[in-house]
């Protein structure tokens, strides 16, 4: 039985969904959760339900906002004191930035953004996509412990942990140390919706959107079904959408439950970034567009007529 720490981030009274996905997969191990800041009691019970035995709120000066150095120093101190075998985190903006830094402080290795893993006894064996998902490989870690792993959101799915009980909540004081790269300001994004990498449903537009203003029809559909809007590289390079919305090999790799591709032909680099979506719907005027080879449901037709009809049908189906 390995001793494992799962690092999580707080969002109001909740922890990120990917944290619960990781916990569900670690049933049978001695698993503790830590976050920087005060973990609310609702979140503690949620974490316990998925198998956390202990939940630690890490507190210290200069940790109100994320800083790569401050968080890394704080987490390093806490991990050293707890002698963990593994440290997991979601492959979120913070997780992807922070974990390699902490791993290096232990001279330890890290597996990035695995989409699946098993613990064979105390040995971690993961699967991760490479080349933006054009192929997959088995990944294992060697060298000094603890070993570090980030897990892609939405990849494992939520599984209740049968050994779950109550979690002991505790506080630990941590030291942020010297911070040389300090946040001065946070500029909010255009969208308050879930990030593409965490979204359960994505509606994406391609070159056929013709102009930025036309993304309005995708926004309307997205608001009906609770989706985040994405774009292809062609649409981003044409200036229809910002790079933060780009799905594909030089944008974001996504794995939603439902991906609706509108006017996207399906370049190999785009398919690589979205092919692990559970269900794919494609709307395109070209019946031979490569996107149809990956689509579960392909609709040959003009997105400007199909999308509004589909939005109405979604409204009817969902009673909105």
């Amino acid at each position: 039985m390995a001793k494992i720490l799962v690092f999580t981030e707080l969002h109001g009274t909740h922890v990120k969904g990917v944290t619960l996905e990781i916990l569900g997969r670690l049933a049978g191990h001695n698993v503790e959760v830590a976050a920087i800041g005060a973990i609310p009691s609702d979140a503690v019970s949620e974490l316990a339900k998925f198998g956390a035995a202990k939940v630690h709120s890490l507190k210290g000066a200069n940790l109100e906002k994320y800083s790569p150095e401050g968080y890394a120093n704080a987490l390093k101190g806490f991990i050293s004191a707890g002698s963990f075998d593994y440290v997991f985190s979601g492959a979120t903006s913070v997780g992807k930035d922070l974990l390699p830094r902490v791993a290096t402080m232990f001279d330890a290795g890290m597996a990035s953004e695995v989409t699946n893993f098993v613990m064979e006894g105390d040995h971690f064996a993961g699967t991760r996509p490479l080349f933006a998902g054009k192929c997959f490989a088995k990944v294992e870690l060697t060298g000094p412990k603890p070993h570090f792993v980030t897990v892609r959101p939405n990849a494992l799915g939520l599984n209740a942990n049968p050994t779950a009980g109550a979690a002991a909540a505790s506080e630990a004081s941590v030291d942020a140390g010297a911070i040389r790269a300090m946040i001065k300001d946070i500029v909010k994004g255009a969208s308050e919706k879930l990030d593409l990498t965490e979204a359960n449903i994505i509606v994406s537009g391609g070159r056929a959107m013709k102009e930025a203003a036309n993304f309005k029809i995708l926004d309307e559909m997205a608001s009906v079904i609770g989706a985040t809007v994405g774009a292809s590289r062609a649409a981003v390079d044409s200036g229809f959408a910002p790079h933060a919305m780009q799905v594909g090999q030089t944008g974001k790799t996504v794995a939603p439950t439902l991906y609706i591709a509108c006017g996207i032909s399906g370049a190999i680099q785009h398919l690589a970034g979205m092919r692990t979506s559970k269900v794919i719907v494609a709307i395109n005027t070209d019946p031979d567009a490569p996107i149809f080879t990956k689509a579960d449901y392909g609709i040959v037709g003009d997105l400007f007529t199909i999308v509004p009809i589909m939005t109405q049908e979604f409204k009817a189906l969902l009673g909105k």
Binding site: F131, A244, T250
Partner: protein, 262 residues
Amino acid sequence: MNIFVCVKQVPDTETKIVPTADATFIETSSIKWIMNPYDEFAVEQALLVQAANAGSTVTVVRVGSSKDTEALRTAMAMGADDAFLVEAQDNLDSYMIAKALKGAIAKSGKTPDLILTGKQAIDDDCLQVPQILATMLNMPSVSVVVGYEGSATDVTVKREIEGGALEVYGVKLPALIACNKGINTPRYASLPGIMKAKKKPLTTLSLADVGVSDADKRVKYSSFQLPPEKPPGKKFDATDAGKMNGVVKEVVGLLRTEAKVL
């Protein structure tokens, strides 16, 4: 200022990836190699900082196979002054690459004031090397940066996080900044630039020269395989105005009854 840029050479984004017969890596014999697209932003940013700070030099460092030196030659054709190549296989893990980059920077004899990298390489997509290298060098660093301004001693950078929100950081140099698309528009190498690049110094080092050995291996990869092919889906013709509504209604219905995603 001593400016360093770390670049990687990766298969072109249109490459069809094929695992080797023994599944230990991918077939590399017929691949078209390019500079990692995010590294182009790092090279461009280095040249912009150099132009703003007279007397600065831009040194490019790469770890990888010497079969093709496309990435380093491109960087020098864009305007970088010199280059170091640490000869190694193309599938080293992030820890080994970062340690080799650190060793090569030390071998250059210059103390870095600024290190620029791409935010991630589009081959293994680990997004680790910039943070590992900064930690090894005990340097502050910010990753996924889409905005950069500042002087030779202090910079303000914007880091992109979830939902396109930005964290604005003040950083004292020396520092490492990992660039994302949007930070600048990389220039194309001019023909005179390409000719000049051929005469610029390219120093080749071995992994042993930079103090890296098999003992530094942290990540083991095996069983490279293609993703499972999906069975063919259902395709509907909605080009005819009369059928459109029916088709869309049917697909939306199937999303609930068959795919069970709504």
